[in-house]
């Protein structure tokens, strides 16, 4: 059985509300989705929450998957969940700012775990959210440029340009280590 057939079998099982199929889906996609959330949030606890939220959302929505690229469908949901989280965080930040400024001074908007001494994580946070999101969506979602541009509702040239500029800037920030 090839990967595609196996995936189709898993999806069909999930649509029949089969526990075992959902378990296989978690095994198949948790690493990539976690990586996506982690690289964008820079926080392990947030990534844990978002990953749980994603799979619960899949339980609700799997019936609406009608074929096509599963990765594109899955990462569209993941991306929506992440941006909902960002909006929520932003609103909360504004509220708290209005009330208790001093607390916010101790709480940066995108906290970084100590374990993330990882240089890439630090440099990634210097890119704008849109570009970082696009790069991570492409890398962890393994989406094509066509899929990315459809997902973002923008021309493919714009997507190409953003990814190119973003990756180039990231390499510069990293000191061009792998040039």
């Amino acid at each position: 059985m090839d990967d595609r057939e196996e995936l189709n079998e898993i999806i069909a099982g999930c649509q029949r509300r089969d526990d075992a199929a959902f378990s296989r889906l978690v095994n198949a996609y948790s690493k990539r989705c976690y990586g996506y959330f982690y690289r964008l949030s820079g926080n392990a606890e947030t990534s844990d929450d978002l990953l749980s939220k994603l799979f619960m959302r899949l339980v609700e929505k799997i019936g609406s998957f009608k074929g096509g690229s599963f990765e594109k469908w899955l990462f569209t949901i993941a991306s929506n969940i992440f941006y909902d989280h960002l909006r929520h965080q932003y609103r909360q930040k504004r509220l708290i700012e209005a009330r208790v400024k001093q607390i916010m001074e101790e709480t940066p908007p995108r906290p970084t775990d100590s374990e993330m001494g990882d240089k890439l994580q630090q440099q990634l946070s210097k890119l704008d959210d849109d570009t970082a999101g696009l790069i991570m969506l492409r890398f962890y979602g393994e989406l094509s440029f066509k899929e990315l541009s459809e997902l973002r509702g923008e021309p493919i040239g714009t997507t190409l340009s953003k990814v190119h500029r973003g990756l180039k800037k990231l390499r510069e920030l990293m000191g061009g280590t792998n040039a």
């Binding site: 978690v26 690289r39 909902d84 609103r91 990756l167 792998n178």
Partner: protein, 161 residues
């Protein structure tokens, strides 16, 4: 490495000259290599077990709900059918209508019965469609609540001058 359906150089060629496209494609490949060099941490096994357990609980709750919804709909359908048959049987108290003589049934009564049956079926279908209780707007309450809090905060500031 996300190259699955892309010939990046060819794609870029649609927007720049050959040399630039070659260079930009190389930039993108080097960027991908950089991301591969720094893999993100993996989710821990305990988290994955928790997610699977939560999914399992949610599926079980969904099945239970569907079971009860089906029972309620079936009972409601039975009540409507019995009530309609009784109504037809007595023919409004003037002209008795007997089973086995369907051709003699009053057309309006049959139409009403069909309409009732359709309504029950529609309810059943819509309940089935929503059988796992997905509510797209579930997050909206939190949003509204935050907006309200925000307004309160703004008003407070206003009175403070």
């Amino acid at each position: 490495m996300p190259d699955k359906n892309d010939n990046i150089e060819q794609l870029l060629g649609g927007f720049m000259n050959e040399v630039e496209a070659h260079e930009a494609a190389a930039d993108i490949h080097r960027g991908d290599e950089l991301l591969s060099e720094y893999p993100a941490p993996l989710p821990n096994a305990h988290l994955l077990e928790e997610i699977k357990a939560e999914v399992s609980r949610s599926l079980a709750a969904g099945r239970k709900r569907v079971y009860w919804v089906r029972r309620v709909v079936a009972v409601a359908a039975a009540v409507i059918i019995i009530a309609s048959v009784m109504l037809l049987w007595h023919g409004g108290g003037t002209t008795p209508v007997y089973p086995g003589t369907a051709g003699l049934w009053d057309d309006t009564a049959i139409t009403n019965l069909r309409a009732e049956m359709d309504a029950v079926l529609d309810t059943m279908i819509s309940l089935e469609a929503d059988e796992y209780g997905f509510d797209e707007g579930a997050g909206d309450f939190a949003e509204v609540e935050l907006e309200e809090l925000e307004m309160v905060a703004t008003n407070d500031d206003f009175w403070k001058g």
